[in-house]
């Protein structure tokens, strides 16, 4: 009898919940025009786990909507020049009621005369960002609040400050050298006045240093298309893309290029302070380039990343040295969604 009652009660209720009555499907399909017809005949690269995938041989000449750009080949210049590559990484380590604890690790890898010279591991160094500590950062109020609210901003702040500090020191210490930076050369809202990208550029020019920023990927689709002719060039070469970048992004420093540093290697965005051909030529002549990426920059990346062991050790260091009490914690996402990874 109970089963019958359930059936009688639930039948009209489930009927009223049918998708047909709610018009949800139509609403969703009309929230934007699908325009799937536009896909027909197009070249396609499927995305994979949010990673950026690029076509191995470029999009083809048809894709170059920005007219014929000049491809300049790069000749390695074998004049002994110091190359110092910089990279860093930051992690959030812990949280308190008032703020968060972050760690940063920096790496400087050097090469000279075509051989790796030495590398410097700096850190891990800890920073505790709270309302009271952020006041010393010279950040404007709104940005400071944003840093306290958003971990990604906080990590970026720490990384930018650490990298600028290293870049400034290297630019002021060396002369006739190359400072190699991971990423584009662009002023950041997080940098402090004394160690801004503009100051670093100025210092570099004064000491005849070259600064090259190489990005592993770019979000600007236009750049990929503009760089299409490079895929057809057999050796190292570059294309100037100042026009595109300056029209899309403010605060960039130096010349903006798309470069290919090896045979059949990926095309990368490079920003250069100094003579373009000279800087890139000296880079190729002094830093071993493997797979189209400078070895020093790769090494700097390796030595600046946090390992699982280091994370464990940092936790242990904090527990042992700062008189903190560890509270039991739970992964809220896992609690809410269950153990099946989503």
């Amino acid at each position: 009898m109970l089963i019958n009652m359930t059936t009688q009660l639930s039948t009209p209720f489930t009927d009223s919940l049918s998708l047909g009555n709610l018009d949800i499907v139509e609403s969703v399909s009309k929230c934007l025009a699908p325009k799937l017809d536009g896909l027909r005949g197009k070249k396609i690269v499927f995305s994979c786990d949010d990673k950026r995938m690029v076509p191995v041989d470029g999009w083809g000449l048809r894709a170059n909507l920005y007219g014929a750009a000049t491809v300049t080949t790069i000749r390695p210049i074998r004049e002994n020049t110091m190359v110092a590559a910089i990279d860093s990484s930051s992690v959030k380590l812990a949280e308190t009621e008032e703020g968060s604890l972050y760690g940063v690790k920096c790496g400087i890898a050097t090469a000279y005369g075509g051989r790796a010279l030495m590398h410097f591991k700096i850190g891990p160094v800890l920073f505790y960002l709270s309302e009271s500590t952020i006041q010393d950062s010279e950040l404007e109020d709104r940005l400071a609040r944003l840093v306290l609210l958003d971990d990604d901003f906080a990590k970026r702040l720490i990384r930018v400050r650490a990298e600028r500090a290293m870049q400034k020191e290297l630019a002021g210490h060396f002369s006739d050298s190359i400072v190699l930076v991971d990423g584009s050369l662009k002023a950041s809202i997080f940098e402090d006045r004394d160690r801004s990208m503009a100051r670093i550029a100025e210092e570099s020019v004064l000491r005849r240093n070259m600064v090259i920023g190489i990005s592993k990927g770019t979000r600007l689709k236009a750049l990929e298309r503009a760089a299409a002719p490079l895929t057809k060039v057999p050796g190292p070469a570059y294309i100037e893309v100042d026009m595109i970048i300056k029209s899309l992004i403010r605060n960039t420093v130096g010349s903006n290029l798309m470069v290919k540093l090896g045979k059949s290697s990926p095309v990368l965005r490079a920003d250069v302070i100094g003579d373009r051909s000279g800087s890139l030529g000296r880079l190729l002549g002094n830093d071993p380039v493997a797979g189209g990426y400078p070895e020093t920059l790769r090494l700097a990346h390796y030595i600046s990343t946090f390992s699982g062991t280091e994370m464990t050790c940092l936790r242990s260091h904090v527990l042992n040295n700062y008189d903190v009490t560890e509270l039991a914690a739970d992964d809220i996402r896992r609690t809410l969604l269950g153990s099946i990874s989503v």
Binding site: M118, H119, F120, K121, P124, V125, L299, Y302, S307, C313
Partner: protein, 482 residues
Amino acid sequence: MKILSKNGNELLLLAMKEDSAAKGDYLLIEDRSRSMIVQVYDEEYLSSQALIEDMVKEEVVNASSMENLHDPLNIGSLSRLVRDARIFRAKIRAALTGEGRLTSEVTWLPSRVESKMRRLRMKEIDSFLGRHGIYPIPLGRTGDSEEFEIYAEDLDGKLSIITGKKESGKSHLSKMLVKTLVQHGAFVVVFDLNNEYSGLGYNRDGTPSAISRQVKVLKPGRTLRFSLDYCGKAAVSGMLKNALDMPAASLREFFRIWDWLENKQSLGIEAIGNAVKTWNINELVRDALVSRYHVIQSSRLFTDKDGGFMFESVITKGGSGCAMVINMGELPPTVRKMVVELVLSKLVDLLERGDIPPIFLFAEEAQLYIRETYWEDIITRMRHFGIYTTFVTNQPDAISDSIYRQVDNIFLFNFTNDSDLDKISRVSLADNDTIRSIVRTLPQRHCLAIGRVVCDLPVVVKVAPTEVLTLGETKKFFGSKK
């Protein structure tokens, strides 16, 4: 050290660089008022894929470029500690009762947070076990360099096996046991296959040892000869049947001759020979008797003269102990078997009649001179008469499972061969994991003692250096040219 996990009766313990424990060491885990005893049987690195990747990455980076480190928080040293962290695998052996006695019933799990761990000294374990005795046999030292001894009482009436690969120290331990048993007044018969136990009478510097007067080296055919009358019909029958494979028909004729000569009071080896030649028998039987007679005569084990060896003259109740070392190294296999048959039959006869006290028998590589069916006889029947055997062998598979099942003590030396380890771990008194892990890595002259002598708690012992003269070394061609 901290407890990481438990699986069955095995605990995984996390140890940092400064925590030391060797394979075989006992640890006491104290959790509030309860205590548990575990034994470390294996040691490995704390390893995870991430840790290995970190190490590989660091090695590759350091190989390509010189490192300069600025590590203000000294996280690198912590990281090195993690890389050197180890996991001890330990078996739960017992729990301690409130009265400080051991029990094998372990029904509780120690706290991972609260538990405290420390190494147990052998003296503490002995006090928990109540392991004591009147006749100690010092064996050597444990991992803590603590003196370790067993008690002769735990060998008395027991079957023991000493096994390990060649030159791992088996004979060394065996000699130590023989020497100490004799010092405690025991009578020991040694079947010495390599003529090495005669060194028991001398120290390494050549001076007489503490038991030099109690060591009697018996050379079959020379100092070990029996009269037929002393051996008796049963012993000779056993020898003819088991060592010389004499058929039953021939055996019957032989004993007709024996009885006839005995009646004439002229029983002797010479007289048997003459009788065989003239006895009215089938020619095939005569041939069988003649061939056996020649083997017996060439063995020179029997004498017609007075003064044949008598065990009673050496083994006397209330005597001061003696080691009778029967040198069998240079004997042909048939004669070895004849000696063993005669000696064991006679000893059983004497024990049956109560003429001699119980004796300890040490048999080196017994599979070479004792027929298969005789093994069980030795460990069952002869044990009741008072022959307490210790087998010394480097072939654990030569001993049958039925013997292992009755064994009371095992002294295990190093084995690296998988099939030997398989055999030993299958039949031994301790668990498979312990045997496989500990025995495989035992250094020379280290043994794992299992069984009654250690109250069933396996102990790793470094056997003390020998005091007596080492004999029986292989003659070497190049060695002799030095």
